[in-house]
Amino acid sequence: MKPVLLIDFGSTYTKVTAVDLEGEQLLGTACAYTTVQTDINIGLDNAIRLLEEKNGKLHFAERFACSSAAGGLRMITSGLVPELTAEAAKVASLGAGAKIIKVFSFQLTEDDIEYIRTENPDIFLLVGGTDGGNTECIIHNAKMLSSIPNDFPIVIAGNRSAARECQRILEGREVYVCENVMPKFGVLNAEPAQKQIQEIFLHRIIQAKGITKAASLVSGILMPTPSAVMKAMQLLAEGCEGESGIGDLIGVDVGGATTDVYSIAEGMPEATNTVYRGLPEPYVKRTVEGDIGMRYSIAGIVEAAGIRRISQMSGLSVERVEELIDHLAVNTEALPNGDHELEMLDYALASLAIETAVTRHAGSIEEAYTMMGLTYVQTGKDLTRVKQIVATGGSLINTKRTAAIAAHAMYDKMNPMSLKPKDAQIWIDRSYILAAMGLLSEHHPQIALRIMKKELKKDGY
């Protein structure tokens, strides 16, 4: 037996997953409260102790970790036109596993600078202009940023003609220059900036958040938790040498505060009478709905879906739904634990969280009547042909009706212009191992993939 320990320092819980590399199997999982305020090792030790109570003493050959503790990777970005470089900056940051506090477009104002100073992000991503294009905006924004006394690192990934000048303007600060996120008009080049962001996360942010106190235990703190989940999803879809994947997929992670949606699919139009509009989207795409979550962001679900639909789906009266939602918004740790009313309510909330988040993630299509007859205009990804949906997140895997909940990611006749999967199978991350398998995949992709195929359940479908 060759056990490996995979650690996820979450903002609430530290989760540990033990895997036997030789047997290619999951040994066990356990979790304990994250103790980032005092010493992160205490929470980790507690989790490992719980794991060893179940599995006996384990001598780990390797340890890897990801983290979303202390707010995760908090970023602010600025670009030029909202739909173009500002959007590219957002896509790049989300793809690096960041939590985006704000995306600015056009020239930063004094008020914006005050906001950035107060929010004090972990990293600022400065972009704007295609290569050879506009230089004014990014240079103005670099000058504005230079007046902030904070010491957060700044990644410059805008017009290459202006990059060095921005670097000079920001002299004395921690600045990194990389390739433009939009080198040519309409071309997305997010990877160089993403790599740079992840490197900074690895070397600096993890230290700043006190997580390297656990360094003696961990052979490599590798990435932000959403990056680990994204790697797992990509591996699961594509497969690796010697092991095939399950094909294009959509992943949904419903949390207490946010709902993350991933898609691994090209999503370009297939029909010849369909025109694609807007910025092409990345093949591996992540979106985060900051206003959609089961507890902290419960109000966002109500806002998006309406209290009547929640009442209809849960079978509870509007008044009772209102009471329970007020209760849950304050008691964020509350779980149904057999309470029938809460179970019904959580079923409705999770279903609507998925429906809203996947609808926002997927592209849409519009009809346009032209001289040439009926034409379709597609914006965003066409996910109608995706055959696999992977559901994860504590709130989701702990309920019994997960498959029914996850089915809300599917195409809906009432909203026919939204390009969601028409015929898909649902996989559930029952043992909650996706982040751990993303970590494991860095060095042992085959084993990670085989374990995922074994552990993800297709119950209900």
Binding site: G129, G133, N134, R277
Partner: protein, 138 residues
């Protein structure tokens, strides 16, 4: 010398792609860097592309007869977006039915366009006009 950048596209709900491709190749061969937005392009998309790429001119084409409606207010929107004085060129079958071209041209010039071309114009004519507007030497 740095290439001059133009933003090219077919405006409105127009899907005529062939003329657009011809213009793209002609302007590229003439030494321009062409950002081709293709068909069914809104005013906002022309403007956004011109801002990011710091374009030297916007070249609009239209074939389905609705060009006048689609182009109205474009100069004002450019002004609003900070693209002051950017040359706007338009050509094709830009009005409904057969109309006297001089009158059509006058209307489009009043709307703030710098050059207007009738149906059947050869690409070279447009290229020559643009070079003159941008004070380029051949």
């Amino acid at each position: 010398m740095k290439k001059k950048v133009i933003v090219l596209g077919v405006i409105g709900a127009d899907v005529h792609a062939v003329g657009n491709k011809i213009l793209y190749h002609a302007f590229t061969d003439a030494g321009f860097e062409v950002i081709n937005l293709g068909v069914m392009v809104s005013q906002e998309e022309f403007i956004a592309a011109a801002i990011e790429s710091n374009a030297d001119a916007i070249v609009v084409s239209s074939l389905y007869g609705q060009g006048e409606l689609d182009c109205r207010g474009m100069r004002e929107k450019c002004d609003e977006a900070g693209l002051k004085d950017i040359p706007l060129l338009v050509g094709g079958n830009i009005v409904i039915g057969k109309q006297v071209f001089e009158e059509v041209e006058k209307r489009f010039m009043e709307m703030g366009f710098n050059a207007v071309f009738p149906p059947g114009t050869r690409p070279e004519t447009g290229i020559a006009a643009l070079k003159e507007i941008l004070l380029m030497e051949d």
